[in-house]
């Protein structure tokens, strides 16, 4: 029951009362709280220098600025349009011909060509990383030799910084980490000279933070990501800000500072309704891992469910949603909720099989077998083992023979009524390693009956 609303005098008096915002009526009454907040916003502004300078600023737009901006936009579009055929010509044929072609003809050396090359490298990076790398080399070669005086403002410097950052990314994608760091450092040196340097510097710093992580320098990685996040926040770039927070949290997690990593992401999880689905799902997915490693299965499960429910991303990637469900199922099983685990894991076996992911299908089955054993459901375990053997026989994989040895061991244990969860886990872990270590021989676990 809300008592009578405060009048204006009472609200103004509360502004000067220490702890006024905690007043019981204000906490309960939305209308009064809104009025109080409005007053407080006004008085908080009254405390700023800027509001007391009452000289009138000329509010009319300046025609010459408009003219300059329009001219710049038009010039940029014209350069980009002219660059399209030039880039197509430059990137014709095998990539070892591209650089000599560029060096032999100055017509390619425009800001528009640099921009279009960066777009081309962005497209090539997922399908042909070495092509993307060579394209980024062309872009930096041109950007480094453009005359800054031929373009207005910071155009050339900004382009140069972007081209080097892009090259750093391509080098990273090609696993040339030391070269990537050098390229990113080049980008950083250029970016700090710009009139508007903070945003570009933050973009470079976040890339550097990820590189530091590759070098296992997690402290600098976390610090760089934190600095970038603060800049992205100031520029109102929420998705990038969250991306930086995730990078920071992952660096902290890799340093073993799990509770700090969790603290880093929780505020963003709390505001997930304001984020796009992909960003929200990335937060949830990271929290699953952090809570799992912190030994808090309930929270891990909670965020796994949220991640699972958040529809996002690349519609062509059918495997990863299955993997998320797999994690959720396993988390249920490990927290003793075997029915829930079963409900999720059983259909996954067929789903992985349909995608031709035999190894995953078998592993899911064996995870489930472990949970069944805990309940003494040996006939169900036997069914899953038979199914696993059938998968490998049908798949005819190079690893089939060794995998069959491991699965035969399980079968023998079953027949002798000596199968344990530890044996199932041992076989499953062996099968996980087998695709990358095909020469690995199966050894029964210590204290095995066979």
């Amino acid at each position: 029951m809300i008592s009578q609303h405060y009048d204006e005098d009472a609200l103004v008096a509360l502004l000067d009362t220490p702890g006024g915002e905690a007043d019981v009526h204000l906490v309960e009454c939305g209308d009064c709280r809104r009025s109080f907040e409005e007053y407080r916003a006004v008085t908080s502004c009254l405390g700023e220098d800027a509001v007391w300078d009452l000289r009138v600023l000329k509010e009319d737009p300046v025609p010459s600025t408009i003219q300059n901006l329009r001219a710049f936009a038009d010039r940029m579009h014209a350069e980009d349009a002219a660059a399209l055929p030039l880039v197509a010509e430059l990137l014709a044929g095998p990539r070892d011909q591209w650089m000599p072609r560029l060096m032999s003809d100055p017509k390619y050396r425009t800001a528009g060509v640099v921009r279009k090359l960066m777009e081309a490298s962005d497209k090539a990076i997922d399908v042909m990383p070495p092509d993307a790398l060579e394209i980024s080399a062309l872009a930096t070669e041109i950007a480094d030799h453009l005359d800054p005086a031929a373009y207005p403002s910071d155009t050339v410097m900004k382009l140069r910084g972007n081209a080097w950052r892009d090259r750093g990314f391509c080098l990273y994608q090609n696993s040339r980490f030391a070269d990537a760091l050098e390229a990113i450092t080049n980008a950083e040196l250029v970016s700090v000279q710009l009139t508007v340097s903070d945003f570009e510097a933050a973009r470079v710093r976040i890339a550097k933070s990820l590189l530091f992580r590759t070098f296992e320098n997690f402290l600098d990685s976390a610090h760089g990501a934190q600095l970038s996040g603060a800049i992205f926040a100031r520029f109102g770039q929420t998705t990038r800000r969250v991306g930086a927070a995730i990078a920071e949290a992952q660096a902290l997690w890799k340093r073993g500072q799990i509770s700090l990593a969790i603290d880093c992401l929780l505020p963003y999880a709390a505001m997930s309704q304001d984020l796009d689905d992909d960003t929200a799902a990335r937060i949830f997915a990271n929290l699953v891992v952090f809570y799992r490693d912190a030994g808090d299965a309930d929270q891990a499960l909670h965020y796994a469910q949220l991640a699972e429910q958040t529809k996002i991303g690349d519609v062509n990637d059918a495997a990863t949603p299955l993997r998320i469900q797999w994690s959720v199922g396993v988390l249920f099983g490990r927290s003793g909720k075997i029915r829930e685990a079963e409900k999720r894991l059983l259909p996954l076996i067929a789903s992985f099989e349909r995608l031709g992911m035999t190894s995953e299908a078998v592993q899911v089955g064996l995870e489930l077998a472990e949970f069944y054993l805990a309940e003494g459901r040996t006939s169900d375990v036997a069914m899953l083992c038979r199914r696993a053997i059938d998968f490998y026989v049908c798949a005819g994989l190079p690893s089939t023979e060794r995998a069959m040895t491991a699965l035969a061991f399980l079968n023998e244990c079953l027949c002798a009524n000596r199968l344990t969860a530890a044996s199932v886990r041992h076989v499953r872990e062996y099968l996980v390693r087998l695709p990358t270590e095909p020469a690995l021989l199966f050894m029964p676990p210590p204290n095995s009956p066979f």
Partner: protein, 207 residues
């Protein structure tokens, strides 16, 4: 897919939502108005002109009043900020926030290039809390309050300045205005109410 910005693997498509066995409450999606994203390098000359007209006054306020840059230099900086914006070959989520932060950046750069360091505004770093009000919103509000003060009677303005800017008590205000404590208190209340009224009128028009 790797995100070029963060070099992070983005989370891929999840399966269709299923019933939650353990009652994990799914946060409602996108309840907040989503700020308009743009790709600056794709903007036409007309769109650029509109953006300039829309944001110029706030940017001018930031440079001139928050960083004390003179008006002609501020106009040049606005142009620099827009040129930088146009060359940002990436999606910008919140244009106004980007421009305001860039204006702060350009203003500091301006003072550095003149061999001076200008202290940052007190409210420049109020960004650590993820849910905090943005810098652009804050500066826009200050600009509006400045306009509010322009509409007020000098005595009212002076009362508010003494109490809320200089932090003086009602008793001090009474002495300064040569009146009684009780009347000074009344004056503070009435002037603030008036300020809020004008503020609401201005912002209603803006909305």
């Amino acid at each position: 897919m790797l995100d070029q910005e963060t070099l992070e693997v983005s989370t891929p498509t999840a399966a269709p939502a299923q019933s939650t066995a353990e009652g994990a409450s799914r946060p409602p999606r996108r309840t907040a108005a989503k700020s308009k994203s743009v790709e600056p390098h794709l903007l036409t000359a007309d769109e650029v002109e509109l953006l300039y007209i829309e944001h110029r006054t706030l940017l001018l306020f930031v440079a001139c009043r928050k960083f004390r840059v003179n008006e002609p230099d501020a106009e040049n900086l606005i142009q620099e900020v827009f040129l930088s914006f146009l060359q940002t070959c990436t999606k910008i989520e919140n244009v106004r926030a980007w421009l305001v932060a860039a204006m702060c950046n350009a203003s500091r750069h301006h003072w550095r290039s003149m061999g001076r360091t200008e202290p940052l505004p007190d409210d420049y770093d109020n960004q650590s809390d993820p849910g905090s009000q943005g810098l652009a919103d804050r500066f826009a509000m200050e600009m509006t309050v400045q306009k509010v003060l322009g509409y007020m009677q000098p005595r009212c303005r002076e009362t508010l300045r003494l109490h809320y800017f200089e932090g003086r008590s009602a008793g001090d205000v009474a002495k300064e205005l040569e009146t009684t404590n009780r009347y000074a208190e009344k004056l503070i209340h009435n002037c603030l109410r008036r300020a809020r009224e004008i503020y609401n009128n201005i912002t209603v028009v803006q909305r």
